[in-house]
């Protein structure tokens, strides 16, 4: 990902266990505007990746299937048989690549269990250490007892990818610092981080490589973005990490000072998103605004199951007109990011002006975890959201709103 660093590794960290990053600091270059642009770019890339992945899976199914048919007619030990095996191997490799792209685009189904993070970080660190230059100094500080609900293999992949990125930034050795701890995220100390307030596990991976040039920083999570030489990797590692953390309602952010190494922070919610039981609410009203009828329907179904009243609207201009006229009463709003008429961020801002302190959730088409949300937005959810996911986000948004009153 980054250019090689010199033989004399700098020591960017004060001391092991010392603060690597000012807690709550948001990298100064991330203004709301640039981050929204970056988010839109990620959405477009996600859509592109999803579309390509779907078509590639069909093509690969054809290749693998026809190869399987040929096997029936070709002796396995013949030259043709061996070449067929190679063809199948190539198709399998392509399948793995597509699977990674789908992970970025968050298009797969995942099974979630309680994953002990201390063990996961220790294991992935062992793997990364084996790839690192022998003169790399590794310092780790791992808090035991933290668990998140996740797909263990996907999460390990995400963490390993970030670790690998760090070791590759230090081909001649250096210092790798890995910490795992719990932190409280709130809107005041973490302005603009698109995370709901609450307790998060924070995995920091900091290296003493050359750092990431500021111009490249907005793009490092994009799929196929790499600064490596041809053949040095496809540039999917950090995209996968981004997709995995976004799917867990977490975030991954990077901080880097040129020539002074770089630090990735992975934030994962520790309090399991409450999966509210049917009938948890009575009478609270959700305003759901989306121009996509499918999203409106599935969103409404999940929320109504919880006992919430749902006002589903597909016309953002009409919604704003109603709100300004004072005809719109709701406890929480979920607005789509990209809509004809008034886009989500602007609608969120205008709704907030009309309804003081109401929680507003921005629903975005593709991975946006870790982006800066406009100030008006309480949280960002990634579409297409499963009913229980959006229900959990609404539950937390309502709880946060309640605690502020």
């Amino acid at each position: 990902m980054r250019p090689p660093e010199p033989n004399d590794p700098m020591a960017p960290f004060a001391s092991p266990g010392g603060d690597i990053l000012p807690r709550g600091a948001v990298p100064p270059e991330q203004t709301s505007e640039t981050t929204l642009l970056a988010a839109e770019r990620m959405e477009a890339l996600g859509a592109l990746a999803g579309s390509i992945a779907h078509d590639f899976n069909n093509v690969l199914f054809g290749i693998g299937g026809y190869a399987e048919l040929l096997r029936l007619d070709v002796p396995a030990e013949s030259a043709a048989g061996r070449n067929l095996s190679q063809l199948t191997r190539a198709a399998d490799r392509a399948r793995d690549l597509v699977a990674q792209v789908q992970t970025f685009a968050r298009l797969g189904d995942v099974e979630r269990v309680d994953v002990p993070l201390d063990d996961l970080v220790a294991r992935t660190l062992d793997m990364a250490r084996s790839q690192a230059n022998a003169s790399t100094t590794v310092v780790s500080q791992i808090q035991p007892g933290l668990e998140v609900r996740a797909d263990p293999a996907l999460l390990a992949r995400a963490v390993l990818n970030v670790l690998t990125n760090a070791t590759q930034a230090m081909p001649h050795g250096g210092r790798l610092l890995v910490t795992l701890s719990a932190i409280d995220v709130d809107r005041r100390r973490h302005p603009g981080l698109a995370l709901l307030p609450g307790r998060y596990a924070e995995i920091v991976v900091a290296d003493s490589g050359l750092g990431i040039p500021p111009g490249m920083r907005p793009r490092i999570f994009e799929p196929f973005f790499t600064t490596r030489q041809v053949g040095g990797g496809l540039g999917l590692g950090l995209s996968v990490a981004h997709g995995v953390t976004a799917a867990l309602s977490g975030a991954i952010v990077v901080q880097s000072t040129p020539r002074d190494g770089c630090a990735f922070r992975i934030l994962l919610p520790l309090e399991p998103l409450p999966a509210p039981a049917p009938g948890t609410y009575s009478g609270q009203c959700v305003l759901l605004v989306d121009d996509d009828p499918t999203a409106l329907r599935s969103g409404r179904e999940g929320l109504e199951l919880l006992g919430l009243d749902v006002m589903a609207r597909n016309d953002s201009r009409a919604v704003l007109a109603e709100a300004l006229a004072g005809d719109l009463h709701f406890d929480v709003a979920i607005v789509d990011h990209a809509m004809p008429g008034i886009a989500g961020p602007e609608l969120a801002q205008r709704l907030l002006e009309a309804h003081d302190a109401v929680p507003i959730v921005l629903a975005s088409g593709l991975p946006t975890g870790g982006i800066l949300a406009p100030d008006a937005v309480t949280a960002v959810v990634t579409k297409p959201f499963l009913p229980h996911e959006v229900a959990a986000v609404v539950a937390r948004a309502l709880r946060c709103a309640g605690s502020q009153r």
Binding site: G46, S51, A53, H54, N57, G64, G65, E68, G108, P384
Partner: protein, 122 residues
């Protein structure tokens, strides 16, 4: 001899699956979308339907729903290449709707054949 109906909008996938199943002794009919598939099914019911989910025209979930409404006891395998344009792959939904097995493309052929044989034996 068990009869299998393959519904997929990808011509190569249809042709390949037809050959795979025929080489394994099944009788195979194919259709390029859900509407054609349902029509074929109503003309001559299959023992097992393998259907793609994301198809132009009548898509897979609706097709599964309609096939099950016929109450013939047909076995259903749903397959999908994953989502496009941000839509989740609907394999889990297909399973909830009543598909007996679901597979994400590209599918390992021996696994597909094993699942097919198991469903038709059951």
């Amino acid at each position: 001899m068990a009869r299998i109906l393959v519904i997929d909008d990808d011509e190569q996938v249809r042709d390949m699956l037809q050959q795979v199943y025929e080489r394994n002794g099944y009788t195979v009919e194919t259709a390029a979308d859900g509407a054609a598939g349902l029509h074929a099914f109503r003309c001559e019911p299959a023992d097992l339907v393998l259907t793609d989910l994301l198809m132009p025209g009548k898509e897979g979930l609706e097709t599964i729903h309609d096939l099950l409404a016929e109450k013939t006891g047909v076995k259903i395998i749903a397959i999908s290449g994953g989502g496009r344009l941000g839509h989740l792959c609907h394999l889990a939904t297909a399973e909830r709707l009543g598909a007996d097995r679901v597979f994400a493309k590209p599918i390992d052929i021996p696994r597909l054949l094993a699942a097919t044989a198991e469903l038709l034996a059951g």
